[in-house]
């Protein structure tokens, strides 16, 4: 009887389990296996032990890509969260036209990343782009944006801020979900707007902040499309197909992120064993960051959210 019940449960779970096994566990185990081999998709993988991991320690391109990706994690993730909180706070204050503005701010999140990046690069294009022209009318000489190694990553952050709608909508729901009675109580105790935000809103939306931080870090560690497209379009060599990696990282390697090097090493230089080692390392880092964030947050808030 019990066996039967277990089997019934299992049969209901089966589609999910099969999915996890085929699309998650199998690829993950394969990646771990291939990371210990020399492998080029065309010949039989050759076992080389931890050689690929050892190579990672002395790879200057890897170092450069890690620096760029870390910059994005450290700057982009907090900026995105702060931006989304700020925007959702503003949107909750609106007395009229709230629906309209919510839609407007959410819309960019629906734009395909590649199209959005192309549009952004052209908007910010020095010389011909409208942004620098407008700045010029104000007497400000605009930077070279995606064409300057100092400004390329901040420009990508701007692009990310523009497409903030996906997490803004979650923050908006969270902010609206804070019980009005808490605000009332705080006001009665003499709390001003900052106090209400600091001691009522912020603690209430902490789980959402945590969620945004964890997904944001994972998303940024895998940052690929926008960096690849921005480099290619800004370099003025928008080629398709095999030549794309020649413009990766433009200008001067400033947008050369970890996944771009992973792709180049694997699919351009036929070093799929090495690329798999990089993928496994990325997985471990993402997992570690997630675990640390979750642990710290629990200790911090003292509750099991």
């Amino acid at each position: 009887m019990r066996l039967r019940r277990n089997l019934t449960t299992l049969s209901f779970l089966a589609p999910a389990l099969v999915g996890i096994a085929v699309f998650f566990l199998y690829p993950l185990l394969s990646a771990v296996y291939f990371s210990f081999t020399k492998f080029d998709l065309l010949t039989v993988p050759r076992w080389v032990g931890p050689a690929n991991y050892r190579r990672m320690a002395e790879d200057p391109f890897l170092l450069q890509s890690i620096r760029n990706t870390l910059w994005m994690v450290v700057v982009f993730v907090p900026v995105r969260i702060i931006g989304a909180i700020g925007l959702s706070m503003l949107l909750t204050q609106l007395k009229r036209g709230a629906g309209f503005f919510r839609t407007i701010f959410y819309l960019p999140a629906l734009a395909p990343p590649v199209a959005a990046t192309i549009a952004f690069v052209y908007l910010l294009k020095p010389g011909t782009g409208p942004v620098n022209t407008a700045l010029g009318h104000l007497g400000i000489e605009g930077p070279l944006w995606f064409n300057s190694p100092e400004w390329a990553k901040p420009s990508l952050v701007l692009l990310g801020l523009w497409g903030i709608g996906d997490i803004m909508i979650i923050f908006l729901a969270a902010v609206l979900g804070v019980s009005p009675s808490l605000y009332e109580a705080a006001s009665l105790d003499g709390a001003n707007a900052w106090h209400r935000f600091r001691y009522v809103t912020l603690p209430s939306i902490r789980p959402v902040i945590l969620f945004a931080a964890v997904t944001g870090v994972i998303y940024t560690l895998q940052y690929f499309d926008q960096a690849a497209v921005a480099g290619s379009i800004a370099s003025g060599q928008a080629v398709t197909g095999g030549g794309i990696s020649t413009s990766f990282g433009y200008p001067e390697g400033s947008t050369f992120t970890y996944p771009l090097w992973l792709y180049t090493a694997g699919f351009r230089y036929n070093a799929l064993g090495y690329a798999n080692a990089m993928a496994v390392a990325l997985f471990v880092v993402a997992l570690a960051v997630t675990v640390i964030l979750l642990r710290r947050s629990k200790a911090f808030s003292g509750e099991d959210q």
Binding site: Y26, L29, P126, L144, A265
Partner: protein, 441 residues
């Protein structure tokens, strides 16, 4: 003895089993056998190529003619296929019979791994003389003594120059040496009242449009690889000549000024191309630019010439590359595949027809001089560059374009002034290139 397997061991066994499954998915190499001479070839054959739209239609026409000439062979054509799709298909055991690629960078890997079969046996059996193929194209279609690809039309790079701007600057013909190129570039450069650049004679940045190291190497006859396949950028003094020349010109403009100027230029393959717009007076580009100019800037008065050389004795050449075609190791009908490749790459009438419709350079001796070839004087200049002994290509390597792209990174650092000691920098670049080249194999 305890028969219970400890949990740790269980994990190991599970992992080992998973690895076995993964390993088993990778196909083993196949023995190559070819038919006896005179055997009639029949059956169906699949061709993957990367062309789209008008160019794909040109391929279809030629394939149709092939089918008419070989009624027992049926060809399935799949357009718009890129290299990574083909690599994956071959790796998974389902490669197309024939692959046609735009990238000579794959030749090294495809030859050394056996992903494309060695065509020598077919060539020998059918008495096809490979010496009828242009010498440079022969270089980029073989690797490690294996001829696993055939050239399918080619591209040659030269110098485009704007005749109107030349007249205004009092210049007659194109520059022939690098020193002249610098001189002309300075004379052709016009500044705005605020000191910024309005028109640039020659934009020397290595990451601008087609100015990649590979395309400028023929100007100094620089070698990429040593005979044993190691990086030669640190040992071949020609690179130093090119880099010193380039940096001098960059410094004359000022790196920051060039960067600002270049940031405002249009995309290379759009109608806003800086050369077509007259923003850049001289530009390195290939013969396919002729068709772009005709289409996007029909009023532009321009001339074409070989790449200026450091030594006048080496003038006349340029960078040469092209499309390549080969047979997958898991081709279902290699004999029919070879028949089609032979038709596409050694049948002179077919090559002329393809060259005329795709506006690329024909690769065999006879097709090159065929009166049916539509070659105006500009196109003829590129054909001369193509046939010139000073022309060169990027040698095939089993790590693909790794050596070029690693060096390209060095070049962008160099022009930005980040490399203080050129000799030490080049020696270091050698080390990096050698290291990256061994990542995969």
């Amino acid at each position: 003895m305890n028969k219970r397997i400890p949990p740790a061991r269980k994990t190991v066994i599970a992992a080992a089993a998973a690895l076995l499954v993964t390993a088993a998915c990778t196909p083993a190499p196949k023995e190559q056998k070819i038919a006896d001479p005179g055997t009639e070839v029949s059956g169906s054959v699949e061709l993957w190529h990367f062309f789209t739209e008008r160019e794909a239609a040109a391929i279809d026409t030629v394939v149709k003619e092939f089918e008419n000439a070989h009624p027992k062979i049926r060809v399935t054509v799949k357009a718009g296929q890129d290299d990574s799709k083909m690599t994956q298909a071959i790796g998974a055991g389902n490669g197309p019979d024939i692959g046609l690629s735009y990238s000579t960078d794959i030749v090294g890997k495809f030859c050394s791994s056996g992903a494309w079969v060695d065509l020598s046996a077919y060539l020998k059996r059918d008495n096809v003389d490979v010496n009828q193929l242009n010498a440079t194209t022969r270089q980029y279609t073989e690797f490690g003594g294996k001829r696993c690809a055939m050239p399918f039309l080619a591209d040659a790079y030269g110098l485009f120059y704007n005749r109107d701007l030349f007249t205004r600057a009092g210049l007659a013909g194109p520059p022939k040496t690098l020193a002249e190129l610098t001189d002309y570039a300075k004379k052709l450069t016009v500044k705005n009242p605020d000191g910024s650049l309005k028109t640039v004679g020659f934009l020397p940045l290595f990451d601008f449009y087609e100015n990649a190291g590979a395309h400028l190497a023929p100007a100094v006859g620089a070698k990429w690889l040593t005979p044993d396949g190691k990086s030669a950028v640190g040992t071949d003094p020609a690179w130093k000549t090119l880099l010193t020349w380039q940096k001098d010109l960059v410094d004359w403009y000022g790196y920051e000024n060039l960067r600002t100027f270049r940031a405002g230029l249009g995309d290379e393959f759009s109608a806003d191309n800086a050369f077509q717009k007259g923003k850049v007076a001289m530009n390195v580009d290939a013969e396919y630019r002729l068709a772009f100019v005709k289409d996007q800037a029909p009023t532009l008065k321009y001339g074409v010439a070989p790449i200026p050389a450091s030594d006048p004795a080496h003038y006349g050449g340029g960078y040469v590359t092209g499309n390549i075609v080969g047979i997958s190791k898991n081709a279902k009908n290699p004999e029919a595949a070879w028949e089609l490749i032979k038709y596409l790459t050694t049948n002179d009438a077919t090559i002329v027809k393809l060259a005329n419709s795709l506006k690329n350079i024909p690769t065999t001796t006879k097709s090159f001089t065929d009166p049916a070839l539509a070659a105006d004087p500009d196109f003829k200049t590129f054909m001369d560059i193509f046939a010139n002994p000073n022309s060169s290509t990027t040698p095939p390597s089993s790590s693909g374009p790794a050596y070029q792209e690693t060096f390209q990174t060095f070049l962008t650092n160099w022009q930005a002034g980040k490399v203080k000691d050129l000799d030490a920098g080049l020696a270091d670049a050698d080390k990096q290139i050698n290291s990256v080249m061994t990542l995969g194999g």
